[in-house]
Amino acid sequence: MRAGGLSGSVLAACRPGHCGIGTYVAEHSTWSGPDGLPHRLVQHVELSAEAMVVALALALPVAVVLGHLARGGVLAVNISNVGRAVPSLAVLVIGARIYGIGTLPAFLALVVLAIPPIVTNGYTAMRQVDADVRDAAVGQGLSGVQVLRRIELPLALPLLMAGVRTAGVQVVATATLAAYVGSGGLGATVLSGLVNDEVGPEVVGGLTVVGLAALAELGLAAVQRALTSDGLRRRSGRQPTLADAMAADMG
């Protein structure tokens, strides 16, 4: 009974080495249950969104205040550059060593990785505001807070948002790696494909991640566009992109 009952289910399953894209897509478990793509996608989005919200809440005020006061820039930029050299994988593993395995270390690692691009780009963006413009505003009698709100922030927003875009894309990417320390998400699907030599989950999982990252990038770009004032948009013609953000990172 044992043996007979088993073979049926085994042959029907997406077996290692025999799990092509078609087999995987046709499989019921691909679309339902805790290991199905929909649940993995939800986990992935939740983890990324939570990390981004916390990172923004921590990093934006720091960037804006430091930029406004023109203080601590060198330190912020240097920390960010060293930060880029620390592999995400290491941050995840160290997080797992301190906080145990699961979603918490992954979440903390994502926050840690998202902060540097937001801070450096925010800082650089604030400092790039033309000193003459700032002086003119002060000359017209605007207070420090007013200068910040009416002049500096609107002018800094495009590059600042480029940093947020970088951070967002990086968070979605690293959330994939986070499956390595047991956080679930789409990375779990991709990793199981790699471990078992199954093309199905490798490709379908991989493409879903790519789609999600693209959505994050396009979505944040749309936010960036919406936040850029009309006058500014007409003048520069082009929005700062990922590469601008990386360049700003390097100081």
């Binding site: 550059n81 060293v82 880029r84 050299a85 620390v86 592999p87 995400s88 994988l89 290491a90 593993v93 160290i94 797992a96 060593r97 894309v169 979605v172 990417a173 690293t174 994939t176 790696l177 390595y180 320390v181 789409l186 990375g187 991709v190 990793l191 494909g193 790699l194 093309v199 490798e202 490709v203 999982g205 991989g206 493409l207 991640v209 790519v210 990252a213 693209a214 990038e217 992109t241 990922l242 590469a243 990386m246 360049a247 990172d249 390097m250």
Partner: protein
């Protein structure tokens, strides 16, 4: 040194992890010492060499692909948007997903690792090379033409040297980024120092994680400083003009 343990609190923590070390410390010096030798499974120099090798090949190929791309964009301006869009799109692909998508085609191999790593360097290198070339002042170009330089000689003698600081700035970002990404090639059977991090995670052996991580950071800083030095060396004029 035993005094540190007696001091208690953070000193005690520091001593246990970095001075009087054992298997549970962040660094177990005995492990580090025995793996300074080459040819061992966890040999630190071997993993470093692998890491450097993967990085050099990736950045080298990246440069060889990017410079002609940037020159093509200079020649045919309509290429700019498509080239930046495509390289930008590659840059946005999460590394693990990119490797997973390549495995069915190129297997668990160095080729897979390098295709991915090269892909990530393109955006930065193309964009910086282009910015460097575009930044050559029009007067300089006119002067070169007036001196009767052929377009090729103008490119080699005038434009490339003047674009060099921007290209090297791009190389710095690309190299540092690649050094971090090499660890992810672990998932396609490579990994360099990432192998130490992986084994340390699975054996719950923090020393390997520390050595792998610190190794990556040190490599990145060394690479950055070296490239900065190269920039100073090859573009003495920019030092005089615009101190960074």
């Amino acid at each position: 040194m035993d005094g540190l343990l007696a001091l208690g609190g953070p000193w005690h923590w520091f001593a246990r992890n970095f001075v009087h070390t054992d298997q549970h410390s962040w660094v177990w010096w005995q492990f580090v010492r025995r793996n300074l030798a080459r040819g061992r499974e966890f040999s630190i120099p071997d993993r470093v060499l692998e890491h450097v090798g993967l990085t050099l090949v990736a950045v080298g190929i990246g440069l060889v692909v990017s410079v002609p791309l940037a020159l093509a964009v200079r020649r045919w301006r309509w290429l700019e948007q498509p080239v930046l869009w495509v390289t930008g799109a590659i840059f946005t692909i999460p590394s693990l997903a990119l490797f997973a998508l390549l495995v069915p085609l190129t297997g668990l191999s160095t080729t897979t690792a390098e295709i991915g790593l090269v892909g990530y360097t393109l955006l930065i290198l193309v964009r910086n090379t282009l910015a460097g070339l575009d930044g050559v002042p029009a007067e300089v170009m006119e002067a070169a033409d007036a001196m009767g330089l052929s377009p090729r000689r103008r490119l080699l003698r005038v434009e490339v040297p003047l674009a060099l600081p921007a290209v090297i700035a791009g190389l710095r970002i690309a190299t540092v980024t690649t050094i971090g990404l090499v660890t992810v090639t672990l998932f396609v059977g490579q990994g360099g120092l990432g192998q130490l991090i992986d084994d340390g995670f699975h054996r719950q052996f923090p020393t390997q994680v520390t050595v792998g991580t610190v190794g990556c950071v040190v490599l990145a800083v060394l690479a950055d400083v070296t490239l900065l030095g190269a920039e100073r060396l090859f573009t003495p004029w920019s030092r005089a003009r615009s101190p960074r």
